[in-house]
């Protein structure tokens, strides 16, 4: 009986067919992802082609008028500008605090505190964008108006009236509010990525600095930050990508003004915010197509940012110290 079983040839699925099928299925699923990414570019291009042909690539990107009502002219410049200013501003605000938290967690805090902070950071990173947005609308924006914008504008009215157009109307919903909220939202992300980079610094590097008689801060300056800088910069770049694509909270807080001039406190718009606000109501083909074209521009910028991040982390990651 048993010898019979042993003599019987294995079913074909156990010999070669099974592996072949399995590999094919797995590769097809992998290809789905590649297909998705390519189709995203293709779809955005196809849907946006109407606008791109009408205004030309450069013309669309440089066009500073967005008028779906009367002139039916669409230019993306205000939104590109709004996205860049809010994202760069948010990154500038977030960069040092985010890294400070990561360093404090990794190097200074006792392990119980470090664990608490780490869990909090992950928890906060999980807060949905709309939830931050509702807080921004009902709590943060009014608070900013009362405690910052109004006093500053009142001061300017009395002393430097020429500054008023630059400051803009202090309604609370505007570029500064959106930038600060954006900074708050990317900090946990930047912190987590920085922490990962710091954790990759080998213990030997730290010990080498300790053994030279360095204080804690000197160890961080001498061994930790230089070693982790590639990871930190790549993480910062990814956070920048996050800021560019962040949609809901910004759309809820930026005030949604589609045309220049933008002012410091006053309303503005970003690429994602204009898509969210107008896509559902857009009726004309040209309007829809222009929104898709903005999506394509957003795609291109995100692609560049992500590829640069990948490049940085590969280029600056350190192998030298561990040559053997």
């Amino acid at each position: 009986m048993q010898s019979d079983l042993l003599k019987r040839p294995l079913p074909v699925i156990y010999r070669w067919l099974g592996d072949k099928i399995f590999l094919t299925v797995v590769v097809l699923l992998g290809l789905t992802i590649i297909f998705l990414a390519l189709s995203m570019a293709w779809v955005l291009y196809k849907e946006g082609s109407l606008a791109i042909h009408q205004f030309g690539v450069i013309g669309f990107l440089k066009g500073s008028v967005w008028d779906p009502g009367v002139q039916y002219v669409f230019g993306a410049l205000p939104f590109i500008f709004g996205t860049m200013v809010t994202s760069i501003g948010a990154l500038a605000i977030a960069f040092f605090p985010a890294i400070a938290i990561a360093i404090f967690m990794a190097e200074y805090a006792p392990s119980w505190l470090s664990k608490i902070i780490e869990n909090l950071v992950h928890l906060i990173a999980a807060i949905p964008s709309v939830v931050v947005g509702i807080w921004g609308i009902f709590v943060f924006a009014p608070w900013m108006r009362e405690t910052v914008y109004l006093p500053v504008v009142n001061f300017a009215t009395e002393h430097y009236p020429s500054l008023l157009p630059v400051l803009g109307s202090p309604i609370g919903y505007g570029m500064t509010t959106a930038t600060i909220i954006l900074a708050l939202m990317i900090i946990p992300f930047t912190t987590a990525l920085t922490r990962d980079a710091i954790d990759k610094v080998p213990r030997e590097q730290r010990e080498a600095a300790w053994a030279l008689g360095a204080t804690r801060w000197e160890v961080i300056r001498m061994a930790v930050i230089p070693y982790a800088r590639g990871g930190i910069m790549a993480g910062t770049m990814l956070s920048f990508g996050r800021a560019i694509g962040e949609t809901m909270a910004v759309a809820m807080l930026i005030g949604n003004k589609n045309n220049f001039p933008f002012s410091i406190f006053g309303p503005a718009a970003t690429m994602p915010s204009v898509i969210i606000n107008e896509f559902r109501e857009a009726v004309g083909n040209m309007h829809l197509s222009s929104l898709m074209a903005i999506g394509l521009a957003l795609f291109a910028i995100s692609l560049i940012v992500n590829l640069v991040a990948a490049y940085i982390s590969r280029k600056l990651s350190i192998t030298g110290g561990q040559a053997i």
Partner: protein, 290 residues
């Protein structure tokens, strides 16, 4: 002995100053973020009641006249759309993860890895536009299915990455042991490697789920939103359907006070849901590690 220029006192002082700066910025940043959570919990808890879970929203008039309204349709819709997204995303993400980790020499892998990471970094709103063009346009209507597909696009790259790292954490010797007793590769992967990596895989699903469950941007022009429950359950999939994040956005930007309160209530439910998912995921990882 070379004489030091900076005394030890100076250097220690610098160390202390830097430490205080770090503590200061940690507090400075954590405080507002905790305040956000606190506000949502306090405001949401005062706005939430039993009606919230058993009635549908209806027109603004309904809320203003004080008739009972709630978001039961959004909660059900979220469940349907998220579930659809998971069903679509898990096979694709899992397959790609298996390809990355079990066939490390495959020619396509370097490209797949870069594209997957890039896709992960793409704004969710673009995934919504893609689902709009692929599903909504051909179908001619906004639908829960389109919303599910859009959220699946958010989940797929996350699941692929987490699957890869979960499978990679299983030592190669386990695979070699399986191959050595004559099992074919697919059996080794399916019945040894994947069961061993079970916790890691599930954690990845949960994290992807939590990320997608909080997204509103891709849903606004795919599942669109709906103030009422569809007449038939198929309407959840084939027609426009409400979801919590998208409804929260609509409520918050609406001009009605009653709806603002309901927005806070939606906020606490959504936050509780997402945070529960995250805490479960983190507890699972801890279990695995220690």
């Amino acid at each position: 002995m070379i004489k030091p220029v900076k005394s030890l006192k100076q250097r220690n002082l610098r160390d202390r100053v830097m430490e205080s700066l770090l503590v200061f910025s940690t507090i400075l940043v954590m405080a507002p973020l905790l305040i956000i959570i606190g506000y949502v919990v306090v405001q949401g808890a005062s706005a939430i009641n039993a009606d919230f879970f058993i009635h549908e929203l209806g027109s603004p008039a309904r809320a203003m006249q004080g008739r009972p309204t709630g978001l039961v349709h959004s909660i059900l819709g979220t469940a349907v759309v998220d579930f659809l997204a998971l069903i679509i995303a898990i096979p694709v993400g899992l397959g790609a993860g298996v390809m990355l980790s079990e066939y490390p020499d495959h020619k396509l892998n370097p490209m797949l890895r870069i594209i997957n990471d890039t896709l992960n970094g793409m704004p969710a709103i673009l995934k919504g536009l893609l689902a709009f063009a692929l599903i909504v346009k051909p179908m001619g209507t906004f639908s829960g299915l389109a919303g599910g597909v859009a959220l699946a696009f958010v989940m797929i790259p996350i699941i692929a990455r987490s699957t890869e790292s979960a499978l990679m954490s299983i030592p190669w010797t386990i695979r070699e042991a399986g191959l050595a007793i004559g099992l074919p590769r697919w059996r080794v992967v399916l019945s040894t490697v994947m069961p061993a990596a079970k916790t890691g895989l599930v954690t990845g699903f949960l994290i992807a789920f939590a990320r997608a469950a909080g997204e509103a941007a891709p849903l606004l022009f795919t599942s669109f939103g709906n103030n009422y429950l569809p007449n038939h359950w198929t309407g959840m999939i084939m027609g426009p359907v409400d979801t919590l994040p998208q409804r929260l956005y609509s409520l918050a930007i609406s001009p009605y006070k009653e709806w603002h309160a309901m927005g806070w209530a939606a906020g606490i439910v959504l936050l509780a849901f997402v945070i529960t998912l995250f805490i479960t995921a983190r507890m699972l990882t801890k279990e695995k590690k220690y």
